[in-house]
């Protein structure tokens, strides 16, 4: 809340405390899930491999990150822009202007939100696992006030592009 307020009024706090906070928020989310950034990258590659079998993914704009608003609720948020696969037969000559890579971006996007049960502490959330697939559509549309989307992307891109 305070951060948003700061941003709104252009009052960006300077100094190393902001860096400390950002770094801690990224590292703690990986700590809590015992899912280090390298593992997250592996997971991301596997997810993209599966999706790429069906549609053409714009890899540059993919954003997959762990997100946790408080200690008891957590999710994997994935923003995966895609365009339709160019053709089932890759060898067939497709005119350049309709190749997947040239298609305008608005053709598709696949926002996915996968709730993740908290590690050990909260066994209550067992139900959410089974429903994960079905909920993903609703979750992404109702559960994304701009504030949290931004913050999750900030921390996500920080963790996945930092190498």
């Amino acid at each position: 809340m305070a951060n948003l307020f700061d941003k709104m009024f252009g009052r960006t706090p300077k100094g190393t405390s902001t860096t400390a906070k950002d770094r801690l928020q990224v590292v703690l989310i990986h700590d809590r899930f015992n899912l280090p950034p390298e593992k997250l990258r592996e997971m991301k590659e596997e997810i993209l491999a599966v999706i790429s079998k069906y549609v053409s993914v714009d890899r540059e704009s993919v954003d997959i990150a762990l997100e946790q608003r408080d200690r008891s609720s957590s999710k994997i948020r994935a923003e995966i822009p895609f365009s339709p696969n160019r053709h089932t037969d890759p060898d067939e000559d497709v005119p350049d202007n309709i190749k997947a890579s040239n298609l305008p971006e608005f053709l598709g996007s696949l926002p996915v939100v996968i709730p993740t049960p908290t590690p050990e502490p909260n066994p209550k959330h067992s139900g959410s696992e089974a429903k994960a697939g079905g909920e993903s559509g609703d979750g992404s549309s109702t559960d994304t006030p701009s504030e949290s989307v931004n913050s999750s992307f900030d921390s996500g891109s920080g963790s996945s592009t930092s190498n």
Binding site: M1, A2, F5, G15, S17, T18, A20, Q25, D31
Partner: protein, 267 residues
């Protein structure tokens, strides 16, 4: 009904667990409550010296656990507060001399006679930590506003949750208002945003703390000390009172930020 057992822990060493335990004990005793403090840092005995009781030890916690004396016999009475006692840690043994079950047992022996049993946990998340936490009804997690301490605090909170002891309540110790103002130190708000557990106390850095330990008279007894006030406030909150947080310039809430922005008032 019996005593409430409160464990003070942190993960990282040197953040102020023993200082907190001693001051909380004294502050509760000043409120006319019956308190026993227990040093669970076997092998690194400290609580006694901070309270000025180092020359009066006969028995220790391991003696109690191994049956060489009754819990009552190991308790050292504080000079100033007759209802405040300390059970010191053994100095020549290690953490394996005590088990979590032993700790629960000792606390159960003491519960009927006291209002609070406060356990000073060793640093780390190993056996000593598990010993200290086993009998706890409530856990206080001490941290400093710096990355290593906050990260360790988060780990401890995770472990507490896994053992159904937590999340615990947080004490942010040694915060320096001038540094927070310059943006060079995490504020209490920042630490809360990161850890997301309830804060029970914010203790400012205070030059009275070291002299207080030097002389074995906890800073809580120094009426002019800001840290002393903070510890007394924590004691009252522990006891269920709703005490507003001390006005620390470094922890402005939303409204204060607003007024600073529009009124420009700097204080």
């Amino acid at each position: 009904m019996g005593a409430k057992v409160i464990t003070v822990t942190s993960g990282k060493g040197g953040v102020g667990k023993t200082t907190t335990t001693a001051n909380l004990g004294v502050a509760l005793a000043r409120m006319n409550l019956k308190v026993v403090l227990m040093d669970a840092d076997i092998g690194l005995r400290n609580l006694d010296i901070v309270l000025g009781l180092e020359n009066r030890i006969v028995y220790d916690l391991v003696d109690v656990v191994e049956g060489r004396c009754k819990a009552r016999q190991a308790m050292i009475k504080h000079k100033q507060f007759p209802e405040l006692y300390v059970i010191p840690a053994a100095q020549t043994r290690d953490k394996t001399a005590v088990s979590p079950a032993d700790m629960i047992d000792v606390c159960n022996q003491l519960r009927p006679d006291f209002d609070y049993i406060i356990i000073d946990s060793p640093a780390g998340i190993e056996r000593g930590f598990r010993n200290a936490v086993a009998p706890a009804d409530e856990v206080l997690v001490v941290t400093n506003p710096e990355v290593s301490a906050v990260r360790d605090a988060d780990r401890v909170v995770g472990l507490l949750e896994a053992e159904n002891k937590g999340p615990g309540r947080l004490i942010i110790n040694r915060i320096k208002p001038e540094m927070v103002k310059k943006g060079e130190m995490l504020s209490a708000d920042d630490v809360f945003d990161i850890l997301r557990i309830k804060i029970i106390g914010i203790v400012p850095e205070d030059e009275n703390v070291v002299p207080a330990s030097n002389s074995g008279i906890p800073v809580t007894l120094n009426e002019g000390s800001r840290a002393g006030v903070a510890f007394r406030n924590i004691a009252r909150r522990v006891h269920g009172e709703d005490v507003p947080f001390m006005q620390l310039e470094e922890a402005p809430n939303f409204l204060q930020r607003l007024s600073k922005l529009f009124g420009g008032g700097q204080n």
